[in-house]
């Protein structure tokens, strides 16, 4: 891998059903995610996916690209820019910005983002991982 390389992307289709499944799995039952009546009166007008549900797709992309190194040494810094609604597709992508040589390996830092098909940015941030030389 080299600087400016693009990471293998991940695409997801978000639905109300999956948002409810995530609420059950995570224990986050904020009504903005699961209650239509509540969400309709909010600034969003409808239920939105959990930020951490969408962020998980970035971790998935990093796992696909960096395998075990990601779960052993990953670092994420993310900003949630806009909500994801029912029946929206998200595209998760990343680009390697910097490779720092370490004594026993290298630290790879990538810019990462999640956007919708419309191009609207959902999450931006950075992810870094250490690849050790075995």
């Amino acid at each position: 891998m080299n600087e400016n390389d693009q990471l293998i992307i991940v695409e997801k289709y978000i639905t109300k059903e999956k948002i409810l499944e995530y609420a059950n799995a995570s224990g986050d039952f904020n009504p903005i995610h699961i209650n239509n009546d509540f969400a309709q009166k909010s600034q969003f007008g409808q239920v939105i996916a959990h930020g951490m549900m969408i962020a998980a797709s970035i971790s998935e992309m990093m796992t696909i690209n960096f395998k075990n190194d990601w779960i052993k040494s990953g670092k994420l810094k993310l900003k949630f820019k806009s909500p994801v609604f029912d029946k929206e597709k998200i595209i998760v992508s990343g680009e390697i910005n910097k490779i720092k040589i370490l004594e026993n390996g290298k630290e790879i830092t990538s810019s990462v983002q999640v956007k919708k098909e419309s191009g609207e940015i959902v999450i931006t941030g950075n992810a870094s991982v250490i690849q050790n030389i075995n």
């Binding site: 995570s26 998935e60 796992t63 395998k67 075990n68 052993k72 990953g74 670092k75």
Partner: protein, 137 residues
């Protein structure tokens, strides 16, 4: 405008809870996000808990203890994976308030999290920024 969160000062321990993530919970979590990337891992990490699963369940304790109002919005998140946690391992998450401020009708909280295992090894560090509507007294 005051609310119950105005009394929270920097450094306050928000939650300090232990939990065990078993295999069905990991499967439920991965299914909910349609994540099959575990297949990309080699056998040395076969029984690990996906780090984002740990972070999600750690946040659950914070959400529960804070009794955050509906309409609370997660604005940013930092995570650092330090060590792998194994399925069935007892984990503890301690969450502290780092910052508490207001702007307009919103309260902004910054919360740090540290997840450790029974041996005292750090599994994960995190920092969450959330904004709460202040119309909930």
């Amino acid at each position: 405008m005051t609310d119950k969160y105005s009394k929270l000062t920097n450094g306050t321990v928000i939650s300090n809870e232990s939990f065990i993530i078993d295999e069905p919970k990991v499967i439920e979590y991965l299914n909910s996000i349609n994540d099959s990337s575990n297949n990309k891992l080699n056998s040395s990490s076969k029984n690990h808990i996906p780090p984002m699963c740990i972070s999600a369940l750690s946040l659950r304790g914070v959400i529960s203890k804070l009794e955050i109002p509906g309409g609370t919005i997660h604005t940013s998140q930092e995570l650092e994976f330090i060590n792998i946690a194994t399925i069935g391992e007892k984990l503890s998450c301690k969450a502290n308030l780092v910052l508490n401020s207001t702007r307009g009708d919103w309260r902004f909280l910054t919360i740090s999290m540290k997840v450790t295992n029974e041996n005292g090894n750090t599994i994960m560090l995190g920092k969450s920024n959330i904004m709460l509507p202040m119309n909930n007294k």
